[in-house]
């Protein structure tokens, strides 16, 4: 049992990890064919992951409704919305329109999902403005630098700002292209080196948390 639970997954990880890391550098047709098959499998597994995600979501909210936990009404709305959409989707064969005529599924998408998502995004502007007023204060030297940079970029990214302060466009562009790029690149390099180190640890079995914490 230990072999199936511990050693076999570690072996699969080691072999596939090394194989696919090497595959990138081998342009032989057999190597390419292997990648094609593997990515096709990945796509199929991706489809099943969707089912797993939906099942897990249903389970979580079912528990909330059964126990009548705080906000269980929202879980009920989620259930009704999700089951209703799935039923309508299956009924219309997943089509949003048939020969130019909108189906019920298309109606749900166009008149419920699109405006709801749009609304969620739109209210961000109001909350950002309110949050900026309450918390964007030059309490330290670092905060003051951040504040000045933010104001310049905000001015330089809109026509009215460039019209009022013509230099703001160029300064904003310099901040984004030079300061922002170099700092982000440094962060990216750090993150990438960390990812490489973690990948090696997983491939060689040093990092095993993905196997789960069950007792052997």
């Amino acid at each position: 049992m230990i072999f199936l639970r511990r050693q076999l997954p570690l072996l699969i990880t080691l072999v596939t990890g090394l194989l696919f890391a090497a595959q990138y550098y081998v342009p032989h047709p057999a190597s390419e064919q292997m990648l094609t098959s593997a990515t096709k499998w990945l796509q199929i597994v991706g489809g099943f992951a969707l089912i797993l995600g939906v099942t897990s979501l249903f389970h979580q909210h079912a528990v909330k409704i059964r126990r009548q936990e705080a906000g269980w009404g929202y879980s009920l709305v989620l259930y009704v919305g999700m089951l209703g959409t799935i039923a309508v989707g299956l009924w219309t064969n997943g089509k949003e329109s048939v020969e130019g005529t909108m189906t019920a599924f298309g109606w749900i998408y166009n008149y419920m999902m699109v405006p709801l998502q749009g609304t969620m995004f739109a209210i961000l502007a109001f909350f950002i403005a309110s949050a900026a007023y309450r918390s964007f204060r030059a309490k330290s030297r670092e905060a003051a630098v951040l504040l000045v940079a933010a104001v310049i970029v905000m001015m330089g990214r809109v026509p009215l700002g460039e019209y009022l302060i013509p230099l703001s466009g160029d300064v904003s562009s310099w901040i984004l292209n030079v300061l922002n790029s170099s700092v982000r690149r440094a962060i990216l390099i750090g993150v990438s080196l960390g990812a490489v180190a973690l990948s090696f640890k997983i491939i060689f079995g040093v990092e095993r948390s993905y196997l789960g914490g069950g007792k052997e």
Binding site: L42, Q43, Q117, F121, A129, S130, L147, L160
Partner: protein, 279 residues
Amino acid sequence: MWMAGMTFSEKMLKIDRRIIFLMIGLCTLLPLLYPVGLPIKTSSEVRGVYDHIESLPEGSVFLLSIDFDPASKPELYPQAIALLRHAFKKNLHVITMTLWVSGTGMADQLVTQVAKEMGKENGTDYTFLGWSPGGQAVIINMGQDLYSAYPSDYRGKPTKELPILEGVRSLKDVGYMVSLGAGRPGVEEWYVFGKDKYKFEMGGGCTGVMAPGLYPLLRSGQINGLIGGLRGAAEYENLIGQKGKAVAGMDAQSATHLAIIALVIMCNLFYFSLRQQKG
């Protein structure tokens, strides 16, 4: 809430947030009702995408990945419209797709609408492949074999039979690619899993808040252009000479940006005045 004995600065710092909401609401609404139409300068980032499409010969394959959902529609939809109009005007072979399942219906409507406006035919001048599960795996699979990643288009027609995909076996046959991304998978994934291995030229488009994060890709030449937010879309609309929703929205964006700047300056003035009072 205001309490007795509060100084003016304290009162102002604790201002009812509904007043701020009202201010932002008015700054958005009034310029939309009474547009000013200030000139919009074109940045080198946006020009990079425009110039590359402009340099493509007629019949080149242009892949547009619409990697966003309705939440980012206000910023990315105008970008997609402007890019499609440009590509159709140049008579490119346009392949469209999405890596975001929740954006499929919107992407289909978008492509169909612009193609109809430009008098293009589905299957011959353009195609919408739809969505396929797997995120970055779809990109790799398309790089290996496009017909395997998408056996049929969104309308269910086999991709091998589409005249527009004749000779387009994988991403290696794509002339230029633009990913309009609102998150992951998006521009970065297209670079890492697509361009880097399958060697096609690519540009990007994203929401305003994401743009600073993509500048390292731009500066290193990993992408040759970047359309950032509504401003980027407005610049592109200006370049193709077809002003649309992005140009119309720039006045509102100008006003809200200035309103937020004014709020930040005011809050700092009150903050320092309060600090001085308290010694």
